[in-house]
């Protein structure tokens, strides 16, 4: 095979442009992490001196962050539970059984991913407002589940497809009941997928802004809403520290997914849920 000769100038300019693009992706994140340790919260970059003061102030008396953080964690945990239940049952129905209108069910499950979030948020507002459920963590979690469950379903479909059905059949043929098969065979094998689905559901809810904005009340603000309010209305230097915390949470979650994938049996498609949603051929990202 003849390898194409690429000119040196072409190679260099490609490398330069790519580096610039990578900076374009990474800089907004790096700048927050660095600034959060700087003494002058918004000021010069790189900071003139270093401090952990902003992190200490996050938990000082009168800080709004702890309440917002605990509400966000509560909502995200509820969302994770809801979307795992829906995801596991839906994936089982779609992969492991004969289902009438299978394609319609599949389409319905994935539809929330392409519908603009504003429209979903507005509709949920119209649903919960008359029920005077605005501000209820359960209402917010139910709303987030609309966005989180398609991701969970996709991950779990890939997981179930990766499990050899004959293992379940073998257990059943030796007299194991349906529950025993699920508990002893399917769940242990699906554990990495379940953990990944849980992490992605949690993160989806934890970072969600628009639905929370429509469904929250004055005294229930989730973390992203609080961050948004600070950025738009009152200047508060601790916002940089909380943003850095959010970055750390996301990176840790991704690392955890990576570790779980490594441990799990077989590959479960791409890392990004959006890839399979886009109808792309599944496969691991990195060769």
């Amino acid at each position: 095979m003849t390898e194409l000769r690429t000119s040196l100038a072409g190679r260099i300019s490609l490398a330069v442009f790519s580096t610039l693009i990578l900076l374009f992706l990474a800089l907004p994140i790096v700048v927050i992490v660095v600034t959060s340790f700087g003494n002058d919260a918004f000021g010069s970059f790189p900071p003139s001196s270093w401090t952990l003061n902003w992190y200490a102030q996050l938990f000082a008396d009168g800080s709004k962050w702890p309440a917002a953080l605990s509400l966000s964690v509560l909502v995200a945990s509820l969302t994770t539970v809801f979307s795992l239940i829906l995801g596991m049952t839906a994936a089982t129905a779609l992969v492991r059984s004969e289902l009438p209108l299978r394609s319609a069910v599949y389409g319905l499950v994935l539809a929330p991913l392409v519908i603009p979030q504003v429209v979903i948020a507005l509709g949920l507002f119209l649903l919960f407002e008359p029920a005077s459920m605005l501000g209820s963590p359960i209402a917010i979690a139910l709303g987030h589940t609309v966005l989180a469950s398609p991701i969970a379903v996709m991950i779990l479909i890939a997981t179930l497809k990766g499990i050899d059905e004959r293992l379940e059949d073998a257990a059943a043929s030796m007299g194991a009941g349906r529950l025993t098969v699920a508990r002893r065979i399917t769940f242990p094998l699906a554990a990495p997928g379940l953990i990944a689905a849980a992490i992605f559901s949690f993160i989806t809810s934890f970072d969600e802004f628009f639905i929370s904005q429509f469904l929250s009340s004055v005294d229930t603000t989730t973390l992203p809403i609080q961050v948004f309010n600070v950025l738009q209305f009152d200047v508060d230097p601790t916002v940089t520290a909380i943003s850095a915390v959010l970055i750390a949470v996301a990176v840790l979650a991704l690392a955890l997914v990576g570790v779980v994938r490594r441990l799990g049996p077989g590959k479960e498609g791409g890392l990004l849920p959006v890839e399979s949603a886009a109808g792309l051929p599944t496969g691991s990202e990195t060769p």
């Binding site: 992706l25 800089l27 907004p28 049952t89 009438p100 392409v114 504003v118 507005l122 886009a278 109808g279």
Partner: protein, 307 residues
């Protein structure tokens, strides 16, 4: 994501009548099991997804004193609201074009890297995707401010005209939305580019095709499906975008999501907001349909080429 939502799932096993199929499904153990498992998610989405959108549609058609009206749509499609819709389309088009070009360069570069480097670069592309868009937008606000990193750098380099106004105008919004949507474009493009057989390019070169001809006649047609996918999906996602335009834009960059938010939260104008929401939904559907159409055209063209 549009692809598989619109694409039909594998066909059912046997061509029986609907009634017969349902009876057979209920009769078989596997069928009952399937229905039982599908019920939670279907019920959930009907109540919390389909019904809310349906009630939005009804609200957008309801007059102030009850009765049926198109009045809210007429409002939304005239005056200041129309400007907002046009701004939304313009910013989405700019964002989708910019992230297509930038994404193309990066995705192409990744295909030319060794596996180890490609993996590292992919991490830099994917990790930001999972970091809250709100936080990344804040990062851009720090970077692009009048005394931010970018302007300081440009001033130090004695770029004429620096410092520039990079925030609270369209430049800021497009920079922000592009950086949020770029990972999608890169992944969609890379998925197609990875499959390009380099030998086709070598063959074209061996027959005397110049660099430009090779790119235009061989490479571009091969990656066209990825380009269409990336462009249309960035456009569609950008249409409903709220955070970045709200935080990095000025009054002239109000996008439709901000307008809906304002009408509900500040003006208690639910009907108008519902009409805008339905218009946004229709624009999204139009985009998805166009994507499907373009794909069908592409497949037809390829079949004709093969025949």
């Amino acid at each position: 994501m549009a692809g598989s939502v619109l694409a039909s799932a594998p066909a059912p096993v046997a061509p029986t009548t609907r009634k017969g199929r349902l009876r057979r499904t209920l009769a078989s153990r596997r069928g009952r099991f399937g229905l039982l498992n599908a019920t939670p998610v279907v019920l959930y989405l009907l109540i919390l997804f389909v019904y809310p959108i349906f009630s939005t549609l009804l609200l957008s058609l309801k007059g102030e004193a009850g009765g049926f009206t198109f009045h809210w749509y007429a409002d939304a499609l005239s005056g200041a609201d129309l400007d907002v819709l046009l701004t939304t389309l313009r910013i989405s088009a700019e964002t989708s074009l910019l992230s297509l070009v930038i994404g193309f360069v990066l995705a192409y570069a990744i295909t030319r890297l060794s596996p180890l480097w490609a993996g590292l670069v992919m991490v830099i592309v994917i990790v930001p995707h999972f970091i809250s868009a709100l936080v990344r937008t804040y990062g851009w606000i720090i970077l692009l401010g009048e005394h931010g990193v970018v302007n300081n750098l440009l001033t130090d380099l004695h770029v004429p005209g620096a410092p520039f106004q990079l925030l609270y105008n369209e430049t800021g919004v497009v920079i922000g939305t592009t950086s949020v949507l770029l990972p999608y474009s890169v992944l969609l493009l890379y998925a197609v580019m990875r499959g390009v057989d380099r030998r086709l390019l070598a063959a074209a070169a061996s027959m005397g095709a110049g660099r430009l001809v090779m790119f235009r006649r061989v490479y571009l047609p091969l990656v066209a499906p990825g380009l269409v996918n990336a462009a249309m999906l960035s456009f569609i996602i950008c249409l409903g975008y709220y955070l970045t335009p709200a935080l990095m834009g000025g009054v002239k960059q109000t996008m439709v999501a901000s307008l809906i938010d304002e009408q509900v939260m500040k003006q208690d104008q639910w009907n108008g907001a519902a009409a805008l929401g339905i218009i946004l939904l229709l624009m999204t559907f139009a985009g998805l349909l166009l994507l499907r159409l373009l794909k069908a055209v592409g497949v037809a063209a390829r079949n004709r080429g093969a025949a």
